[in-house]
Every structure is written in C-alpha cells, then in structure tokens.
Symmetry: none
Subunit: 227 residues, 2 copies
DNA sequence: ATGTTTTTATAAATTAATAATAATTGAATT
DNA sequence: AATTCAATTATTATTAATTTATAAAAACAT
C-alpha cells in the first residue's frame, strides 16, 4: 500500500451487488473501483494498483478464475490480495480458486459486517506479508533480493550471482544510465581487474534470460534498464 | 489461524446435515468448507488449512477414523482441532476416535446452540495449545523448537544439534536465501572459526535425513529452504 | 564407547573471464 | 543523402576460476 487508503477493486456482473458493496466499503473509508466484467477488471487494475480484489467467480466472457490467474501472472499484482465471491453451492470452484492463487473467498449472499471484518483480516495479513519481503517491481519484473529470484509474468528465472547483482544494480534506478566504470565499481569492486568485454558478456546473458529490450545500450557510456 | 476467521471443514455424507451445519456456522461468521466423503475431506484440508474439522464417523469408502489418522500423520494438521460427529449409540467408536488423535466429539442429533458453544470452547483450547508450543510448520515438516524434534509425515526424525539449528535457521524464513556468512554467524557465532566445508557437510546430512529437495543450493550465495 | 562435529582431500558442477571475430553505431566526408 | 571509417559493443567458443558435493577419517564430546 503506497498510502493509507486501501484500494479495493470489486468485480461482478450484477450492478446491484456492485453498488451494494461499493456503498458499504466507501462508508468505511475504502477507496473503491468497480468493474462489471473480467476484461474491465484487468483494465481497472492496470489504471490503479488495487490492494484487494473482490472477484465474482461466475461471469460471462472471462470468469473470475481467469482474471485471477492473469493478475497472478504479473509481478505487479504479486502482493495484491485476491478474494473470490461465490454462491454457496458452487463449491467445486473452490479447488480451482486456490490453485490459481486466491487468498480467500467469501460466500454470497454477503453480509456487510462479515465482509468488513473479513477484509480487515485480509489486509492485516497483507501488511505482514509485504513488510518482511524485499522485492523490486520494475515493469513486469519482480526482483526478490532476499530469495535471489527473478519473477517475470508468473515465471521464475534463475540468475547467476553476477547476473543478479548486475540486474539489481540497474534496477536500483530504472532509467538511469550506469556508466561502465560505475558498474565495475559497484558489482566487482574497486580493486578487481577484469577485461573490457566482461560486462558485455554479462549483459548479453541477462538479455538472453529477461528479453532483449529490457536493457538498453547507451553507446560510449553504459547501460540502463528501460522503464 | 492466519487470519481472524476460523476455518471449519465439515465432513458428512448426508447433504442435509452438511447444509444445516454450514448455515449455522456461517451465520456466526465462520468460514466453512464442506466435504461429503473422506477423500474429499483430505482434498479440502489440503486446499486450505482448517482450524477445525467436524468429522462424521460413519461414511462409505473411507470412514472418519481413517481421515483423522491421515490428518494426524501429517505435521501440517498437528494443530488442527478434530471433532467427531457420531450418533448417540455407536459409542464403541469413541475409543477408536481418541486413539487416533481426536480432540472432541459431538453426538447427533446436533443442536445448533450446543454445537456453537462447543466449537467456541474447542477454539479456545486450540489457541492455548498453539500458544505454549513453539513449532514451525513448513510443507509437511514440523520443527519443534522446544523438544528439538523434527516431525515429517507422522515420523520422528532425530537431528543432531547443529543440524537442527541449521534447519531451524533456514526454516525461520522459508524461501529466503541465507548467505554462508549469515549461517556462520547465526549458527556458530561470530568468534568461532571453522573450516569452509563444514556447512556443506551439515547440509548434506540434513538432506540425507529430510530429503534431497528440501534444501536448495544457490551457488555463490548460500542455501534456502524450498517453499 | 557411541554419536556428533570438524577437517581433509578429491571430484563434480557451475560460474566467470578472456580472446578472437563480427556487427553496429555515429560522426566525418563525399 | 549516401558512403566511409574508426570506435564501440555484441557474440561465441574456449579456458580458467570458483564454488559446492561427497566420502572418509580425525577430533571432540557425552
């Protein structure tokens, strides 16, 4: 959460439910966005990063499960809490829901007080989760400095140590051009003597793993991470 | 309990009872999952860790006793409360039930008010139980920091002290990569001087005891517990 | 005396650096 | 504009260096 306001995105194809929930949440001080279809949900989520997504399972066109896995595939929404809304009896969907990375699930009909306490619990959990990780999000990359992992679109990519350090340096200020000299100093250290092509080779390996366009060459100066 | 919401799993082969209980529990704010057979119960429990399992004894195929011992064999459900549902007269099962690790047992026909107060009592007990033990659950491992014991799938595994401390450190943040230096400092202490291969050897012994894939090597950095 | 911990030596695996060649870029010149 | 050319970067294969795994034995402790 960037600010104190919790952003909730509610997705349901029934306008009544949307309004009902919006009313109840806004009354409690939540910032609410609504979407009445899966595609709209993805658009809204892109516009503004939600802290919590309340997601109806049954929707025409693109159902909740799909929306959830789309979101989960993108590193940007890794720390977003996703809860499904589901009618009491469709419990076969429960399996699919958790498979796909849902955090909780709330059965309709929804009772306001229950919903609110549930949301509070979820947000507490989120704060804990976020507080003790150390992750950089750049575009659709997530660089976990603690787990030494790179995560792109739901895929885990392994980097060797120097590769990781190099990427992490570039990611420390996306868009900034890092001069070769600076890269030498910060990744290798002042005293280490390595040849002139060494950085190029590491850059090449990174590009191999994370895509050609992520790192841009600034000729005569160095490299930068494209924002 | 990760959140404030208590997760209850109800297992019974009679749909009426299932619905009746679900209704009564959800009304009180419990999060309810249902299963109509033993195998389904295990599946549901895997999906989401229940705080409480209400388990019918008499079921076709796999009966409640079996389900209970399956659950109890797995460290993950060690702190889950299991209560049997049983018709008044089949009291021979009582013995088997407690043998197999049940915490309580509730006779049918079930009266809602009684059921709810019983559940509250059980949850209180659970909180106490969890509060005064110091056990870490990771995957299907249970690391008892008090008894210096490791428990995997119903089996007790003996670890030497250094092995235990090493595993316990890794388990303090599953997924995090612990640098060798950090391991040295935290398991051996700043001043102790030991050779470079010592950690490797302990890691090897741990892998021997808890399986090869539990601990992952991150070359150039250290080790982590796979999540 | 038995289990635990550390060391040693060697093998295996992974990562990093280099060197040689190719490709690209951007300015200078036509 | 098009061409040339020198400087810079990309690429690939190869070699070197580093790091970890393993087994066995020695040292330590209970």
């Amino acid at each position: 959460m960037q600010t104190d306001v919790v952003h909730v995105l509610i997705v349901d194809d029934e306008p009544d439910i949307l309004e009902f929930m919006r009313y109840n949440l806004e009354k409690e001080g939540y910032s609410v966005q609504v979407a009445s279809s899966g595609t709209e949900a993805l658009k809204r989520a892109k516009e503004r990063l939600p802290d919590l997504v309340l997601l109806d399972v049954m929707m025409p066109e693109m159902d909740g499960i799909e929306v959830c896995s789309e979101l989960r595939a993108n590193a940007r929404y890794q720390s977003t809490v996703i809860a499904f809304l589901t009618a009491r009896n469709e419990d076969f969907t429960q399996i699919a829901g958790f498979d796909v990375g849902a955090d909780d699930y709330i059965t309709k009909p929804i009772k306001p007080r229950l919903l609110l306490s549930r949301i509070k619990a979820l947000m507490r959990r989120k704060v804990e989760k976020v507080a003790d990780t150390n992750v950089r999000y750049i575009g659709d990359m997530a660089i976990d400095q603690e787990k030494y992992q790179l995560h792109i679109n739901g895929e885990n990519i392994n980097l060797a140590r120097k590769e990781f350090e190099l990427l992490n340096l570039l990611a420390s200020k996306p868009g900034k051009v890092f001069a070769r000299q600076e890269i030498f100093n910060k990744v290798w250290g002042f005293d280490v003597v390595i040849g002139d092509r060494t950085i190029d080779v590491h850059i090449r390996k990174l590009r191999e793993k994370i895509g050609l366009n992520a790192i841009r060459t600034i000729k005569g100066i160095g490299y930068k991470l494209d924002v």
